[in-house]
């Protein structure tokens, strides 16, 4: 469960996140959508303690992320798959995470298999990885501690169709077993397929929040809803 309560983040005179409130309940996939620059990544960074909010709070599993003694054991995070040292091998990246978490060493092999990275790929430096391989490594890192919450910023970015299909089953299975998924994505058709709830953000404010069936009950599709809800807040909308 992720609860966001009156969260605001200001950078000087610029308000990136403007008094937002929503919940990502357990047992569901919550799609977090919005135009670029709307505040999704900022919100997620605050959720995992990387950025301090100006006011308001984000609670994961009922607590501040910073108060969890071993956060990655309960909350899996993927914010930017390219934020890895290019001179380190994929296996080393996961090994560092496994060491910090305190998992047995065979956990790294388990995760590599789960995300579909071969032994040869694992032993290559991240600098040689394709975008899809980085994403798989990032998702693997998030899964290392076998968490009950996943916070993912554009996890399917760069994945091929098999990868997207795999991600879909992974996340759906995770949520069906009771886990919480907060997922931001621009692949609206994908999100429409796996999300139970949708939260839309535009210029730092929530513009839509509800169960996907309810939001699309009048037969619209997610893309249309997105474009109309965020029109005035997107780049194209402002220029028009």
């Amino acid at each position: 469960m992720i609860t966001i309560q009156n969260l605001t983040k200001r950078y000087g005179s610029f308000t990136a996140v403007d008094d937002i409130t929503f919940t990502a309940p357990p047992g569901s996939v919550t799609g977090f959508l919005g135009p670029n620059g709307a505040g999704k990544s900022t919100t997620m960074r605050i959720a995992v303690g990387l950025t301090r909010p100006t006011s308001g709070s984000v609670h994961v599993l009922g607590a501040n992320y910073r108060d969890l003694p071993n956060p990655a054991a309960r909350v899996g995070v993927l914010l930017d798959a390219s934020a890895q040292h290019s001179g380190r091998t994929g296996r080393e990246v996961l090994t560092l995470g496994a060491m910090t978490l305190g998992t047995p060493q065979n956990r790294v092999d388990q995760v590599l298999e789960q995300v579909g990275l071969t032994a040869r790929e694992a032993n290559s430096r991240v600098g040689t990885y394709s975008l899809g391989m980085r994403q798989r490594l990032g998702v693997g890192h998030a899964l290392l501690g076998n968490p009950e919450v996943l916070i993912l910023d554009e996890p399917a970015n760069g994945l091929d169709p098999q990868g997207i299909h795999w991600m879909r089953s992974l996340l759906r299975g995770f949520a069906d077993a009771g886990g919480t998924v907060l997922l931001s994505s621009h692949l609206l058709h994908e999100v429409q397929m796996i999300a139970d709830r949708i939260v839309m953000i535009g210029q730092g404010r929530i513009v839509a929040d509800g169960a996907i069936d309810q939001l699309l009950s009048d037969g619209t599709d997610l893309e249309t809803l997105f474009l109309t809800s965020t029109m005035s807040t997107s780049r194209e909308g402002i220029a028009a």
Binding site: G62, P69, N70, P71, A83, H85, G87, G178
Partner: protein, 266 residues
């Protein structure tokens, strides 16, 4: 720090949790930081070059032996054989911090351990361990050079109990590591931090040789007096060592730690 009981909310249907540590200890964080010092290509090259350089310095020792009149003590080679490590290990100190920001691994590092003070402490402890290892290599290299001097040349080697050269070398290395760490933490950019780390000592040392005011000021800014620490020093020299330390070690560390806490990991 309040100890909260985080409710166990794990849904029954989920895969059983993988065995994890209940909390992350500083020992674990330090082991991870030590591993990070050697598990990138850049760092491995750095360490490799430093070790090869140390070997070359031992070889070079024998060509310089003629400059030594009379007997040779076992720590005489130290000034030479400690140079490669003394120059290159502090670069590791810079990189351990700048890499997190430049390569953006800060996102991963601080997601795993959101309390930055603990991560910084672990990095400094790891660098402390590296300093000790460096001292061991100094001693070994000097001993090897001294041991070989007798048989290979006609010099007599004296095994004196005077450890001051070793102590000085270790102090200088420790100061250099702390300074590198400070510059790394504050500047956050690998090339800029490394450049500053090398240029400042050269600039201040040469300034201190100028006549007049520049020379006077230079002597107070330069770390030249640090090498005299275990020998008798005048009050002025202690003062000069102190200001240089405050300026090039304490200040960068303080500013760097402050900055590390404030900056967003993006």
């Amino acid at each position: 720090m309040t100890t909260m009981t985080i409710p166990n909310t794990r849904p029954a249907k989920m895969l059983p949790p993988v065995q994890v540590a209940p909390a992350i200890t500083i020992g674990t964080l330090t082991r991870v930081e030590l591993r990070k010092l050697v598990n990138t290509r850049a760092n491995r090259w750095l360490i490799g070059i430093a070790l090869v350089g140390t070997g070359a310095a031992v070889a070079l020792w024998f060509t310089l032996l003629d400059l030594f009149q009379g007997d040779v003590t076992w720590l005489d080679p130290l000034f030479l054989v400690s140079s490669p490590l003394s120059v290159l290990l502090p670069v590791l100190a810079v990189l351990t911090f700048t890499q997190e920001w430049g390569q953006r691994t800060s996102l991963t590092t601080f997601a795993l351990e959101p309390r930055r003070g603990r991560v910084i402490g672990a990095k400094l402890l790891a660098l402390g361990a590296v300093t000790v290892l460096g001292a061991v290599v100094f001693l070994a290299a000097s001993t090897i050079a001294a041991v070989l001097t007798g048989p290979l040349t006609d010099k007599v080697v004296v095994w004196s109990g005077n450890l001051v050269p070793l102590g000085s070398a270790v102090i200088l290395l420790a100061i250099a590591m702390a300074s590198g760490a400070g510059f790394g933490m504050f500047v956050m950019n690998s090339p800029a931090a490394i450049a500053l780390y090398f240029i400042i000592p050269v600039a201040t040392a040469s300034a201190s040789t100028f006549p007049g005011v520049i020379g006077q000021v230079g002597q107070w800014l330069s770390g030249d007096t640090w090498g005299l620490i275990l020998t008798p020093m005048t009050t002025t020299q202690w003062g000069q060592a102190g200001t240089a330390f405050a300026l090039w070690v304490a200040l960068p560390l303080a500013l760097g730690i402050w900055r590390s806490f404030r900056v967003e990991a993006k």
